[in-house]
Subunit: 222 residues, 2 copies
């Protein structure tokens, strides 16, 4: 069997996307912990364009960018469970929402970087609009984004939501209120109860401490 290695750090929500997909598929892999303050030569070799984690290495062949890695995992190990719909139109809808989530993730960075009250208000408003779009047009009445079973859109959004909640806690806002987004809230509970997700969920407290420290560094330099 060709060896699978995942280069990453366990604080990165992007790395969890890959961990979730590999674990859901039952693909054995070796986790290679990277030090982002002192990137390994191997990481620089594998991802010379971005020099970022996660990188999946499958038999010496590296794949970078979390959602590109996830589509690769889905294509290489299509079996049980399938994480993309079978129908090409439904797959296009899944890719549409993945692109939406990827394009909007920058808004979380906006929240993290907000310094003035006005900046915080603007960033929160933007996140509320994103959540509203996903509530109304993305998830709707469905159990998961693709229908009855977990798929790549759920994985993409689950990691984004985890990150958004912790960063919100650090800066002191709670955009993801249950009365505003009832469908998304029900979805997130279902998502977190899937055994593989529950057993491999990022540690909220460690991520909080990490984000808080980085936020203090940002404020100190502002």
């Amino acid at each position: 069997m060709t060896e699978v290695k995942l280069h990453g750090v366990l604080l990165s929500p992007y790395v969890y996307r890959v961990i979730w997909a590999l674990k859901l598929k039952g693909v054995p892999y070796e986790f290679v912990a990277e030090d982002l303050s002192n990137k390994s030569d191997l990481l620089l070799k594998y991802n010379p364009v971005y020099k970022k984690i996660p990188v999946l290495v499958h038999g010496e062949k590296p794949v970078s960018e979390s959602m590109v890695i996830l589509e690769y995992i889905e294509e290489m190990w299509p079996q049980n469970p399938s994480l993309m719909p079978n129908d090409p139109y439904d797959r296009a809808l899944a890719r549409f929402w993945i692109k939406f989530i990827e394009d909007k993730i920058v808004a979380i960075l906006g929240l993290f970087r907000s310094i003035t009250g006005q900046e915080l208000e603007n960033a929160t408003k933007e996140l509320l609009e994103i959540l509203q779009t996903l509530e109304e047009h993305g998830l709707g009445e469905k159990f998961f984004f693709n229908g009855d079973n977990i798929g790549l859109v759920d994985i993409a959004f689950g990691s984004m939501l985890f990150s958004m909640q912790v960063i919100g806690d650090v800066v002191g806002v709670k955009p993801f209120e249950s009365h505003k987004f009832p469908s998304l809230h029900a979805w997130f509970e279902n998502f977190k109860q899937i055994p593989v997700i529950e057993e491999n969920f990022p540690n909220r407290d460690e991520y909080f401490v990490y984000i808080k420290r980085r936020r203090e560094e940002l404020l100190a330099s502002a």
Copy 2:
């Protein structure tokens, strides 16, 4: 046969991506010209999230976002020519470069919006770095991005490069110099000589006039 309609405007480089893919595949379609200053109810219904063109409507089912549309076209009409590699790893590389191009397109907007000399210099520098990455890591020694034949990466980058050149002409910079990017230049010549691309290439002069007018509006309001 299920009806295919493409909602768009012929000034949009994103719309040309879809036209090129449909024509390369020989898929017959009806072009529905939209007026972006007065969007049709149909467009708002088909793309409620972004309210943007292009939208491909296949038997009443709408698909939005140009690269999502292109992957849909490839999956619906996989035959002759295939626009994605057969090997899953090569497909992952293609998706990596498509994401790179999509993420970096914002730099062209930066060029368009540059007002001061410093802004223009920064935007040009960023574009040079993007082109250098594509020259060195993306295209390399290959004829097209996927190898010997045109594919989705070529279509994505061809439309970006057309737009970059015209916007560069309007603002007065020429980042895409042949001595700096010999591989990309040879590639662009090969790309434009493919009959379908040549016969359906956007009109440079019309796009120049359009961008020039919008640039003058921007400068007048600055």
